[in-house]
Symmetry: C2
DNA sequence: CGATGTGCGGAGCAAACCGCTCCGCACTAA
DNA sequence: TTAGTGCGGAGCGGTTTGCTCCGCACATCG
């Protein structure tokens, strides 16, 4: 059977839809928790409900798919970090990457699913890998000695959700969103500086503009 | 007219109800955003809907009351910080206090109200006070030079909402809640360490137990 | 030119939940 | 007994929910 150009274009659009859906779902789930509505997800992805429901049997199925992807991303990030020649730098990169991906932000929705919680075998293997990475970051003198692996996981969860970024994303102005993301990257850097054993490098990104604090009230009053 | 013991006891209970309501409202509003339901608030406060609605005309009125209280607390905290002999220590205390109070967590609900957003005169007076405090913290050498006032405000907002604390509070186990709060206090300390110009003091609180990460899935499976 | 297939948007359905009202109850003071 | 007070929560109409299902656009095939 031949495959025409048209068909390929169609498939590409399908794939794009698929990705937009997953990306939007992750954002909306993270923001609204278990109350996220499928309507909001479809709208954020720019697709109709039909498109969503042809791919996933239910809201729960979509959520579970996100959980699996999130797990994969965590494992991949762990591997990347483990391969870094400098364990401390590897750990820092891991934190940044995980926070920006939103690692841990799906947790509050566990009620939706009956999938096994992350005490399972796979997860604890990842836990061991992570603990080993932290151990090496301690040993090389980069990570302050009194910070534990649990501290760092909690830090990732804590920074994953950002009121600032979430509120400003809703305005839909690309420039502002970029600024908000940069502002959060500074916060991550501050936290990482607090995790370091030695005095810190200077902060990345230009200082956040004050209008970030007020831009959110656009359209209220 | 005489005031009996019974009357006093009654009034005390009323006052307790009042405070429970406000405390619960702040928690639930912070957690659920503008979708917080009055039902959830009343339940969290352990009172009936009637009790809530005799005190506040509407959900919006309750929210606006919280906004006012939040503003008062911010101003009071600013004054306390300004009075501290060591500006940097005063600023650190301010951050800790504000994060634990939940300063900034009400922002995402602005849609509910028609009160003027915090670009108003009062707020900008507070802004000036805060900027002055930051300035003195810079001058005394405590605060790293490349951290700005906006950074610190965003940090307070960022730490105010804590997935960990919110999820674990829902379990209703006092011991666990205490632990979760202590874990967050360590995160605050880490962040403050990242804000410091000099190498940091050691972290407060014992390291967080790993079971904090798994305790939340109680009752799921 | 139909016939068939495919991916899509969104109107519409029952059920759940929303903010809010209101009534009956427990208790006290007169 | 009567009047007054603070209270819990059932219940009201209206909105929102997760999800179904149908008509449309377009491409391929006979």
């Amino acid at each position: 059977m031949n495959v025409s150009k048209r068909q390929l274009a169609r498939q590409a659009e399908v794939a794009r839809n698929d990705e937009a859906l997953l990306r939007a779902a992750r954002r909306v789930f993270a923001r609204d928790g278990e109350r996220a509505s499928v309507n909001a997800i479809a709208e954020a992805a720019g697709v109709g409900m039909g498109t969503l429901y042809r791919r996933y049997d239910s809201k729960t199925a979509l959520y579970e798919r996100l959980l699996v992807l999130s797990n994969q991303q965590w494992n991949a990030a762990l591997r990347t970090a483990a391969d870094h020649p400098d364990p401390w730098q590897g750990l820092q990169d891991l934190v940044i990457e995980s926070v920006e991906y939103g690692q841990g932000t799906l947790a509050p929705l566990r009620k939706l699913t009956s999938l096994p919680p992350p005490t399972a075998d796979l997860a604890s293997a990842a836990d061991r890998d992570f603990a080993a990475l932290v151990e090496r970051a301690h040993a090389c003198g980069g990570l302050r000695r009194d910070a534990t692996a649990t501290d760092i996981i909690l830090l990732i969860e804590q920074l994953g959700r950002s009121p600032l970024v979430e509120q400003i994303e809703e305005l839909g102005e690309a420039a502002l969103t970029t600024e908000a993301r940069a502002a959060r990257r500074r916060l991550i850097a501050i936290a990482l500086g607090g995790l370091a054993a030695a005095p810190h490098a200077s902060l990345p990104e230009p200082p956040p503009a004050q209008h970030l604090l007020t831009a959110r009230w656009r359209g209220t009053r």
